[in-house]
Symmetry: C2
Subunit: 116 residues, 2 copies
């Protein structure tokens, strides 16, 4: 799969895919005879997971750490699990915060409606 196809399917730009590889988020994408990147399904699954971490607000630096642990093998599972659990807690807190802020927003909107 070419970088354009991978970009299409992952929702990331080709620029971003190269950038992710450069900083170590994606390890060893294959190259074809002419040196072009050749993505496989496993790369796409990993990209999807990375994208989930990103859209839920994990910093790139943490994602790099996670990717590094993953490359180091099975014995890093506990640390990876801990990272995910901490992240989940942050996402949960973020959802709660957004929910609370939306209540304020609702009130503000009600006020506007009443005055009109």
């Amino acid at each position: 799969m070419t970088i354009q196809e991978a970009a299409q399917r992952s929702g990331l730009s080709a620029h971003t895919l190269r950038y992710y590889e450069r900083i170590g988020l994606i390890h060893s994408v294959g190259r074809n005879v002419s040196g072009h990147r050749d993505y496989v399904e496993a790369d796409l699954r990993w990209l999807d997971f990375l994208t989930k971490l990103r859209t839920t607000g994990m910093p790139i630096a943490d994602m790099c750490r996670y990717a590094e642990l993953r490359r180091m093998g099975e014995h890093t599972s506990a640390e990876r699990l801990a990272m995910l659990e901490l992240h989940r807690e942050r996402v949960r807190a973020r959802i709660a915060e957004l929910g609370a802020d939306m209540v304020v927003l609702d009130h503000k909107i009600d006020n506007y409606r009443e005055r009109m």
Copy 2:
């Protein structure tokens, strides 16, 4: 109220308060005899509201637009209401997205747990 007190109570830094004023987010904070900023309760309430918009992800540019409409008076209520409703919709979508992503995160965590 001094800028330090306003910073303390709003949760923003003094740097940020000056920045917000410079870009037009906060209009005409009073000055005391020596030219120092002198915040009043109404400023604090406005800052709290601004902070809600920020933490829910509204871009600074949109907040400036909202602040500008507010300064223009009552006849801009409809446009401000429309902005808030659009923003609320985005926040709702964001909460939904985070919730969906958290389900994936939960599965991933379950997988780790089972394998250990």
